[in-house]
Symmetry: C2
Subunit: 85 residues, 2 copies
């Protein structure tokens, strides 16, 4: 319990939420590729490491999948019902 604070505290959480919003809103459809990490870093004015943390969160949420050398792709438009661990 007590997971997921109401306000995303950290930059990587906010970025993950932002990108998740683009997915759930349909602006990023299943199969679409996210911008490259360095691009996301520039766009959102954070470091690439922060982008990677955000994308890691999105992977854990089951929304995207990443392939080295290729990119990160949307694999789901909304979160699977609460992974509960």
């Amino acid at each position: 319990m007590d997971d997921e604070p109401v306000l995303p505290l950290y930059a990587y959480e906010r970025l993950a939420d932002t990108i998740e919003g683009e997915i759930t809103s349909g602006r990023l459809v299943v199969g679409a590729r996210l911008a490259a990490e360095y691009e996301l870093a520039e766009i959102h004015q954070v470091s690439r490491n922060t982008v990677r943390s955000a994308v890691e969160l999105l992977r854990e949420r089951g929304l995207v999948a990443t392939k080295q050398g290729a990119g990160t792709y949307v694999i789901r438009s909304r979160r699977p019902d609460t992974p509960r661990e």
Copy 2:
């Protein structure tokens, strides 16, 4: 399939395997606290981030749990039967 290459390729994998060995061998028992990240970094001559990657692996293997401000503790002496994701 095809997970876990025979030879651990990266420093953080080797370090994780090393620490796992200390756990499975009984030198680190359940409840024991691992050395601090900066200590492990010094001991094994790697960076803190590499230590963190190794510990992250151990968490995924279900062997340890980390509590901010407290430390990383052994919670299991051997891997649970293949987490298969």
